[in-house]
Structure formats: C-alpha cells, structure tokens
C-alpha cells in the first residue's frame, strides 16, 4: 500500500438520507400536531410490541441468544478487516464480483455504472436501508434509470412521493383511504373500482408489480447478513418481492454496509432467531433467501456485491459508540420508545429513526444535531434490543461529546404534552436525576425500591445532569 489513510471520514452531506434538513424538535412538533400519524403510530407500535413479547416469551433461551448475538457482533467488528476479505474471497470464488465504496457518492456511482452497462433503464428494488441511506434512487434517477420499489410499503411511500417513517412499516403514516388515492393516481393499471380494503389494495400492488418482476433485467437489494466463511448473502422478507428480485432478473446488485458481515454459516442460527421475533414478532418471517455468488441455471447469472463504508469506520473508531454498528435493523427499539411513538420517524430526519437513529445518525454524519436529546433515557430500547446495544449509555456519551446544537427556540408550552402523560414523565425524570446521586462511575448498580426491581435486572446508565425536558425547556 502506497498511502496510509488514517482519517476516518464521516458520511458526506448533500447525498443520501442521513442529514435531516430540520432539527428534531421542530420536526417533532409538526408530527405531534398530526393526530392521524400519532394514532397510526400508537396502534402500530402497540400491536408489534404485543406480538414481539408473545414470541420472545416462547423461547426460554432468549437471553442466551441475545448474549450470543451481542458477542458475535463485537467479535465481528474486532475482526472486520479479515472478515470482509474472507467474504470477498468467497463471493469471488463463487462467481460474484465485489466492489468497495468509501462513501455514498462512490457507492451510487458504482451502481449507476453497473446498471448502465446492462443497457437497461429500469431496475426493481427490494427494500433496503443501505440504499435509502446513500440516496441510490435519486442517483439512478439522475442517470435516467427508474428504480421501482417492490416492497408494498416502499411502493406506497415512493408513489406518494414522501419518506419512510418506520424501519419495518415505512408507510405506517398512511391510512387505507390515502393509499387507495395514491394507487389510483399513480398506477396507470389500477382498477377505478378499487376499494380501500387492505386485501384489495395489496392485490392491486401485486398486479402492478407482477409484469415488472417477470420482465426485469436488473435487481438491486440490500443484505441482512453476509457470511464471510461461505460468501452467502441473506435477505429476510415477508411479501415475496424479495424472492422475485433475487431470482428472476439476469443481474443482481447487492448493496451492503460493511458492518453486516457475519463470521460463519453457523452464526446465522443466532440472528435468524433474534431478527424475526424482534422485528415483526413472528417466529420466522415468511421468506428468507440465501445465495452464494452465482448458481448456473438458477437465478441471476451476474452478481455484484457493493461494500459500503459511508461513515461506518468513523463509528468504529469511537470506543463508546462503535456498538451502534451491531444493529440488525429489527426496529424493536422504535416500538418501545415513548419519544418515537409520539414524534414519529420523519422527525429524526434520517433513514434511521428512533433510539438507534438517535445514536447512529450523529455518529455516521459527525454533524451537530439535537438527536441525542430525543430520548427520555428510560432504558426500554436496551431491554428490547436483540443484540443488547446499550443505547441509553451511548446517548449520554453523545450528549457529552456533542456541542449543543444551535437551533431555533421552540416554546416548551407547545410541546409540553409531547410525552403524553406529562406528569408521570416528569416524575420519572426526577427519579432519574435522583439516580445521579447514587451512580458510581457512571453506572447505577442499584436503585432504591421500587425501582430496584428494575436495576436488579440491568445496569442503568447514569442520567445526564440535564434531562430531556430541562434541555427542551431551556432552549
């Protein structure tokens, strides 16, 4: 190597969907005024929470799986260079082609060039956080290539010309009547007698996309896991649009964040149990596809894997923040977060909303932001996280390292009711502040009763000197 590059650049601004254009409090205020959105979100998060709790309760070894998942991720990050090289070798040996991208701009250029080389001007896409993060659809559009989102929710978002609001159910901010209107307006083949019954709407999407699947030449996907040992890429989904994209086109381009690598095939046994139960609250999601390079006579005969950094190495370089890279994008932490439930996904200004977004987004971008304050530090996200990411401690850490952002003053009165039961919320925060007094070296080992029942099960990060509400009120 002729040059040593020790700089750890963040994800660049001006490309992709990490840098919000409005500060969290301002965007959250709008969301709070939207009763429909809050009702939908409240219903969605409550439903998924209940389903998750039921299927997690079925497994007596759930905590053992979480600990294995946590350690596997830490092991992976510590050996990330070796594992990526192993993945590259295995994919290449099986007929795939591996590309590396320093950032979003470079990744987009690689994909645009690959699609151009096939001569097609339309690609089908499987829902993918990574491609949303880098703004791939916009880059393709600039190059005259239409990207068709095939996940039902992503299709609703795309046809409605807006942005996803939840990792798992991106169109949760839309109700059935709105979806019907969007379909009638944007799908030339939609039947005008279409009702707003969910089954009818889903079948309209099926009919609309079927012709595209059967004739698509190029598909673009993300990856839930990339197994270093075998070069096996894994996509987890529900609707079958993933299988369509991964099976029928001639060329498949998979965009994968470098942190998605998993050491061995056997290790997948941990994540294939943790992810579906945490995410959709199912024992197993309807479809999971795995493939290793190219299989003659079966599926795409050209396979490209694009490995993307885009600020991930900057996260890796922070000892107190790097475990944000362990996230398997299940969205469980969103569904248990009282702030997310009220503010909604759009307020976070990033493809990564909720508690994980509040820690991951600022670390990826390196930009000053109010996101680390978008939390009451209640700890529910840690308890829900299948890989035990200590988001509350990380939020405290980020608050201490991030300069307080200069944002326009928001009157506290307008958002005082933000947290629903404001009095209870305030009481909780006062208890937390009390907690500072009994914290030792930044961790609370034990709270006085009745909260001791909680700290018996887990360490609570010491709360910051200033609570979310104090901070909000003071601005």
């Amino acid at each position: 190597m002729t040059q040593t590059f020790l700089g750890m650049p963040h994800a660049p601004a001006g490309v992709g969907h990490l840098h919000g254009d409005r500060p969290f409090p301002a965007a959250a205020r709008d969301a709070l005024a939207d009763t429909q959105l809050r009702r939908n979100l409240g219903h969605a998060t409550a439903t998924i929470r209940a389903k998750r709790a039921a299927v997690v309760g079925e497994l007596e070894d759930w905590e053992d799986l979480r600990r294995a998942g946590e350690a596997l991720k830490a092991y992976t990050m510590a050996n990330l260079d070796e594992l990526l090289l192993q993945l590259e070798t295995a994919v290449t040996a099986r007929g795939g082609i591996v590309h590396w991208a320093r950032d979003a701009t470079e990744a987009n250029q690689i994909v645009v060039d690959l699609v151009r080389a096939t001569g097609t001007d339309e690609v089908v896409k499987v829902k993918s956080m990574a491609t949303a993060e880098i703004g791939l659809n916009e880059a393709l559009a600039d190059a005259g290539i239409a990207a068709v989102e095939t996940d039902l929710a992503e299709l609703i978002v795309q046809l409605g010309h807006d942005l996803p609001s939840h990792i798992l159910v991106p169109a949760i901010h839309r109700n059935r009547a709105e979806i019907r209107e969007i379909f009638l307006r944007e799908m030339p083949d939609a039947d005008p007698s279409l009702t707003d019954e969910p089954r009818q709407l889903a079948m309209a999407a099926r009919a609309h996309l079927r012709a595209k699947f059967l004739s698509a030449k190029v598909a673009i996907s993300g990856a839930n896991f990339g197994i270093a040992e075998t070069g096996t890429i894994t996509v987890v989904e529900s609707e079958g649009n993933g299988r369509m994209c991964l099976t029928l086109p001639d060329t498949l381009i998979t965009v994968m964040g470098i942190e998605k690598v998993v050491p061995t095939w056997t290790d997948l046994e941990v994540f294939l149990q943790l992810l579906p139960r945490s995410s959709t609250g199912e024992r197993m999601n309807p479809y999971t596809s795995t493939w290793s390079g190219v299989t003659p006579g079966d599926g795409p005969q050209t396979f490209h894997l694009v490995l993307v950094d885009n600020g991930r190495t900057a996260v890796l370089a922070d000892p107190a923040g790097r475990s944000a890279l362990h996230c398997i994008r299940c969205s469980a932490c969103l569904n248990v977060c009282p702030v997310y439930e009220r503010a909604g996904g759009h307020a976070y200004g990033s493809v990564y909303p909720g508690p994980i977004g509040a820690v991951l987004t600022p670390q990826l971008t390196g930009a000053a932001t109010s996101l680390p304050y978008a939390s009451s530090l209640c700890g529910a996200c840690f308890d829900a996280c299948p890989v035990r990411i200590d988001i509350p401690s990380m939020l405290v850490h980020l608050r201490s390292t991030q300069p307080h952002p200069v944002i326009e003053r928001a009157s506290f009165g307008a958002v005082a009711w933000t947290m629903g039961s404001a009095r209870r919320f305030r009481f909780g925060e006062q208890l937390l502040r009390l907690g500072r007094l009994i914290a030792r070296r930044g961790r609370i080992r034990r709270l006085p009763p009745p909260l001791s029942a909680w700290t018996d099960a887990r360490d609570l990060p010491a709360p910051p000197a200033q609570t979310f509400r104090d901070w909000w009120a003071a601005r």
């Binding site: 590059f5 600990r67 350690a71 510590a78 149990q273 309807p286 006579g297 079966d298 890796l316 000892p319």
Partner: protein, 203 residues
C-alpha cells in the same frame, strides 16, 4: 480471482480505516448457551410442526407413505402442475420444468416439490434447489405451492435446520404463505409469492 486492485483504491482505504479504528480492540469469546439440540422428538415434534404451520396459515395434509400418490392426486386434481425435471414426486399430467420462461410459469396453477429440511419450532420449510425442488423460479411464480415433507426431514430448532443445509446452494426458507402488514398493520396473506402453501406431511 480478480487481480488485486491498485493501491489507493477504495478497498485499501476502507481496510486501512478499519485497521486504524480497531487498533488495540480485542475480540470477545462468543457464549453459545442457547439451545442447539432438540428437546422434542417423535410424535410431539410433528405435532409442533403442524401447529406452527397452521398458525401461519399454511394448509397441512398428513398421510402415510403408501398414500402419498393418491393424496397428491387429490390435492392437485383441479390444477395445472409443474414439477422439477428429475423429481421423484409427480402427478399424472404434470409438466416437467425444461427451462420454462417466466411467462410460461405464470400460466401454471401450482408447483409440486419436496424440501431439503424443515424446522418445527418456527414452522419453516427449507428448499435447496435439489432434484425434487428444482430451480428457485418454479417455486416462486406459480400461485400455489404443494410441498411434501417427510417426517425424517423435520428438526426441532433453527440451529439443527441450518446444520442440515449447504450454504453453497441457493436456499429459500418458507414460513407460511407470503404476507404483508403494510396497510394499517392489517395482515394480508399472499402478496407476490405463492398465495397458497399446502404442506403434505408424510409420516
């Protein structure tokens, strides 16, 4: 293998960043205290499998080995059927897949296959494109999938399932028919994948 990319490439830059970020970081040992062996077998295992399949809206038929042919004929009687070219499982009148186009497959009512393995705890069937399963397209495009599972293919846990599979092969894990909850969280079974999954358990 490809020639090594030139120095100063994105690959070298990303790897250098990772190494710098990781200096002094030790990898932890991975505890594997979770279940990796079965705690249920025999009749209760199959009952668990059927229970999970039904819970996820698959249709289940159980039959003795000697009754498999007649059971399949009965299930498939109204439909045009495609089968993999060298499958041991077929019904009279079935079309063998000799490289049918996507459009041709779209005209066919149902596909009849075996499977590579199945997991009772999650109600999951795994396909590995083996001789009785065929290439992935044939189990995807037709609207109905009739899948034969032998009792000895059913394991209890996810770790046992993965241990039975070869990741070098293209694999599809199926747990019930395709589904979406994207519209107001209202579950709709059957979107793009086969809208009907019929499992024939041979025990």
């Amino acid at each position: 293998m490809n020639a090594r990319p030139p120095a100063g490439s994105a690959r070298d830059a990303v790897l250098a960043r990772i190494r710098a970020a990781n200096s002094g970081v030790a990898a932890p040992a991975v505890p594997r205290d979770y279940r990796r062996t079965p705690t249920v077998s025999g009749e209760p295992l199959l009952e668990l499998f059927v229970d999970r399949l039904v819970d996820y809206k698959a249709t289940v038929r159980t039959c003795a080995p000697g009754d498999l042919s007649s059971t399949l004929v009965d299930i498939c009687r109204e439909w045009t059927i495609v089968v993999p070219p060298s499958s041991g499982l077929t019904v009279p009148g079935a079309v063998a897949d000799d490289g049918l186009s996507h459009t041709q497959l779209d005209e066919i009512d149902a596909v009849l296959t075996g499977c590579a393995a199945a997991c009772a705890e999650t109600g999951t069937i795994a396909l590995d494109a083996g001789p009785d399963q065929g290439r992935r397209a044939i189990t995807l495009i037709p609207d109905r999938h009739v899948c034969v599972v032998r009792a000895d293919q059913v394991v209890h846990t996810v770790p046992e399932l993965l241990a039975r599979l070869d990741p070098a092969r293209p694999l599809t894990f199926i747990s019930g028919p395709s589904a979406t909850s994207d519209i107001e969280l209202h579950r709709v079974e059957g979107v793009h994948g086969p809208r009907t999954l019929i499992v024939v358990l041979v025990a």
